[in-house]
Point group: C2
Chain length 233, copies 2
């Protein structure tokens, strides 16, 4: 590549990366707003969140197109190509996180339209969502800086999300057994907790791609300690 | 491209496609075996299914590598490039389906180790899984033949899966309310049903990629009727 073309290519790549980060920011907002709406019961806000999912979807398509164009026009190889393919995977996870956020908003809407104001375990679910959002933020950061020291932290946070998820389910079971009339509302909050658990999984995938890109190692289904060994931290 | 290179390229592309279909076949088997194990309670079989998930993961990595190599060496453009990028997305969904199958096997193992032989709604769950497997098979078929008449059918089957899922949840709620001692086992089968519902979603994604590839249209979040209009069937 001539210097001029190489520079253009870098600019284009930077542009896609900025786009991915923008998509990540939007998705992060969607989660936070959906969890808020769960407690505020603001039905109009729920509808706005559901509506905004189109924006997330549109961004995925745009970035996908951008990636295809760059590959077709610039014919990148080695690390540049892997970087682009990794972005294609990352935005798929971001789009799915967006879906989960919009599902939570839909559940919030249903609950409040039925005037179900008491949500069992809301505080715990909110806390769980804060960790998941933190995971997402750190994964985006790892992506932006290609920082392989982050993924092990994200995996540890995911273990925490999974633990909190199990605890919530256990307490919900006790709650339902003590008062079977709470079964329906308990299941609603259980689905919200499940959506957050999945958001954590997607964020984890995203940071695993970073390790794969930088180190060429597949660290899915391995522990945080192993990841640290793999990346030599 | 010279004719010779073009032919090599076609052979390579065919090879990846065959690999994707092989991965699809393996994943299909994993689901069916996991659902069987749920009723047979064969713990050794559960462990074999969980173990076989590594094969699914390895195939994903291999196909990913193959796709990168083809892009780097052949520098495909237009439809060929989109075809490769679509395979990269398809195998991500296949890998996630594999994860869900292995989760079901893990649940089957847990249930039977606790000697929980009575599974509420097993018959319904099995039926739901058969539709999901059918969706997967048809999506793979749509992919193999780039047949855009299939996706609308897959979307309709997904609506059926979602309906059956809701019915199972509703009956489980009644069941739990009538006898709160069944709450724990009901939740286990609820998670299995949820895993199958997600398998349906992934299969649906896969057939939507086919429409996107062939028609350049994003048909996520639209109805089966709309898809038929989009593809002009």
């Amino acid at each position: 590549m001539s210097q001029h073309i190489a520079k253009q290519f870098d600019t284009e790549l930077e542009d896609v990366r900025a786009h991915v980060l923008q998509m990540g920011g939007l998705v992060e907002q969607q989660i936070t707003r959906a969890i808020e709406a769960l407690s505020s019961g603001d039905v109009a806000e729920c509808e706005r969140i559901i509506e905004a999912d189109h924006q997330v979807n549109r961004l995925e398509i745009e970035i996908d197109e951008q990636c295809s164009h760059i590959i077709a026009r610039r014919q990148p190889t080695a690390i540049d190509l892997r970087m682009i393919l990794m972005m294609v995977k990352t935005i798929t996870d971001l789009e799915r996180i967006g879906d989960e956020a919009s599902k939570i908003a839909r559940m919030a809407k249903n609950l409040h339209e039925r005037e179900q104001v008491h949500l069992p375990r809301y505080r715990e679910v909110k806390h769980m969502s804060e960790i998941a959002v933190d995971m997402l933020r750190q994964s985006l950061d790892a992506f932006a800086r290609l920082d392989v020291s982050v993924p092990a932290k994200v995996v540890r946070l995911d273990e925490q999300v999974d633990e909190e998820f199990k605890t919530i389910i256990r307490t919900l079971i006790t709650f339902m057994m003590e008062d079977p009339r709470t079964i329906s509302s308990s299941l609603e909050i259980l689905w919200v907790a499940k959506a957050i658990e999945r958001i954590g999984d997607h964020a984890k995938n995203m940071s695993e791609y970073v390790v794969y890109l930088v180190k060429g190692k597949d660290v899915r289904h391995v522990s945080a300690d192993q990841i640290e060994r793999e990346v030599g931290q």
